[in-house]
Symmetry: C2
Subunit: 386 residues, 2 copies
């Protein structure tokens, strides 16, 4: 149950990609017939990704190497291009590490960032956002949903505020795309980052929606592919894979979301009911259908991960990007948890391959693992061990 | 014969990648067992790429999304990190469009660039390079070989000059890797860009060699993967594919180079002997084993491409990155060709799937195609048409 760190690709996606690895390996920039086939594949994939996120004009979607690159292009591209208008960016304390580090980088280049706090359930307050706007604000960047605690933001409302103030609105939807239905036009979004790998597509591919008219400049120089905004030979097999993944996600997002939220709720309820001193991190209802972030007092997430891994259950202690450091998750700290609470948290992310039996198995195994670890932990109050 | 624009991946590469798409889809940053398998795959691929280019310490190799990204990271990363030392960069007029555009971008940020001219065969003169060095020079960037005209540069000598002057030496080896044997240590190279797709590996993956001790900063902010220099979830299937491609290239580069140079020489000799007013662009011997760039007076490359495509022969009119514009190749102009000469040039790039029969077929078809096009061309002197 660790779909957040790495997802298998959908077999249908793999089948769609296969011909483009070997037989159909042309370059869309070439003049001859091989090039034509690659150009068509690129165009169709762009249309499929556009449809997933409610975009009418496919040319507003460009392909990148992944979510991190999409975020870099969106934020630096808008910041540098609009710096004569202002130098202030608003974001939140629970963004993905790439957004946070991009802001820190921009601060060294003379930009200023407001990191909005979130409430205990991880939600941004639109009123606080409004108050943070100055006449120098050029960009607001708020994630669609947090991949770690699952909380979904009031994106449409934030976008409305951004547009009332003539500010560009960027949304990092890497954790949400394919899991929650997204419509950039209805939700007032100017730039939206998504990643193929987080929706059963191949790794190494992402996309950025850029609303027509958005003032942005490239961050990579080269051959001018992707309307000059993303140079580099197009990764056609990867792009075809992302297109297929988007097509499948568009068809399945509602039904699969319903199925997963039932599993999620069963898991959450089961854990909270059977394990004392266990808690849910993030919002109880405004959350990704596949995410359950659970906290257990007195024990370390890392020991829990190893204990569960030995029983065949893969989970994560938080963002895959920060788990190699032993620092507690910045997201969990931002929702007000103490260091030891953050360390005792586990992220369950479910996907297509998970069934009710998996949830039952976790509910069968987890209480015993927690109990054993608590018995060994010096933090556990003695009266609990009787 | 258009291996420069897009190569099929080697079936062995595809087999090596396959398990990492579906069964083994872990994230190297995760703690559990899936993560371990991904970490091992990453490490082994790094070793394989290191061996291809003569690197002793695999950690000096980092993976990127391709040659363009590698060039951007190498050049901007070194320029920004060393700007207190100087702001002058030396490169050549025949570099890949990404290197040229990176330099133009850096010029807007206060850097200065010297674009060294080349001789009629496309070779940089090391003495001219020496003369261009100032006390502000922080970076020299010269390609290993030009993918369009095939010319190989005196890299070792240029590197020696760079190091005698304490200047970093970056080499764009995208067109050369896997075709010419490269040894970064013997050839005095500090940074070397390579691309998977140009050596029968998958698209969307590249690597950058960064010699230990090189002062460089990242150009993408994020989760700090690849020693902080290239953030973004590692594209494990792609990286495994590039590793396998590098392993195969290392084994086969010498023998395959010999085989291809024989085909190349047969093609060149055959064309020059049978088609009047045909010429070779680039150096006659210091050239990539798989490249023949041929020029035909009085006709347009685009018409030739279409004429040959109808007969089942794919060729290119120049760099795939610029062929969509109708501008003549900057490389051909840099070696002193007139616009109409540049337009009448064709690039044949051969690879594993080409045999002597292919060369024979080209030699059989090409003279007739050239003749027909010349008959229709207003530029052709009347006496040639008799």
């Amino acid at each position: 149950m660790d779909y957040a760190a790495g997802m298998p690709i959908d077999p249908r996606v793999f089948e769609a990609m296969k011909p483009y690895f070997m037989a159909d390996y042309g370059n869309p920039s070439s003049s001859h017939s091989f090039g034509v086939s690659a150009r068509n594949a690129l165009m169709e994939s762009r249309e499929k990704v556009a449809r997933l996120i409610g975009v009418e004009k496919p040319e507003e979607v460009i392909f990148t190497s992944g979510g991190t690159e999409s975020n870099n292009l969106a934020m630096k591209g808008v910041a540098y291009r609009n710096k004569e208008k202002g130098n202030h960016i608003i974001t939140t304390t629970i963004e993905h590490i790439s957004v946070i580090n991009i802001c820190k980088h921009l601060q060294k280049q003379g930009f200023e960032t407001t990191f909005l706090p979130v409430d205990k359930q991880g939600v941004v307050n639109p009123e606080e956002l409004k108050d943070a706007i100055t006449d120098k604000t050029i960009l607001i960047s708020v994630m669609y949903a947090n991949g770690e605690i699952g909380t979904i933001q009031p994106v449409r409302e934030i976008g409305k505020i951004a547009h009332e103030n003539q500010i560009y609105f960027h949304v990092d939807a890497v954790a949400a795309a394919g899991k929650a239905p997204i419509n950039v036009e209805e939700e007032n979004i100017d730039l939206l980052s998504i990643s193929s790998n987080d929706m059963y597509g191949p790794k190494g591919v992402g996309a950025l929606y850029i609303k027509k008219g958005t003032r942005i400049q490239p961050v990579t120089q080269g051959g001018g592919q992707e309307r000059g905004l993303r140079s580099g030979t197009e990764n056609i097999p990867g792009i075809v894979g992302m297109g297929k993944a988007a097509e499948i996600a568009k068809e399945e997002v509602v039904a699969e979301g319903k199925r997963l939220s039932q599993l999620r709720d069963k898991l959450i309820k089961g854990v909270l009911n059977t394990i004392e001193h266990s808690y849910l991190n993030g919002h109880p209802t405004k959350r990704l259908p596949n995410n359950a972030n659970l906290r257990f007092s007195y024990i370390e997430g890392e020991s829990l991960i190893l204990g569960l891994d030995m029983r065949g259950i893969q989970v994560s202690s938080g963002s895959a990007c920060t788990s190699k450091t032993l620092e507690p998750s910045h997201v969990l700290l931002a929702i007000g948890l103490a260091h030891e609470e953050a360390h005792g948290s586990l992220v369950f992310t479910m996907g297509k391959q998970n069934s009710e039996e998996d949830v039952d198995y976790v509910l069968e195994v987890l209480p015993g693992v927690v109990k054993r670890l608590r018995a060994m932990s010096p933090l556990t109050p003695k009266e609990m061990l009787r």
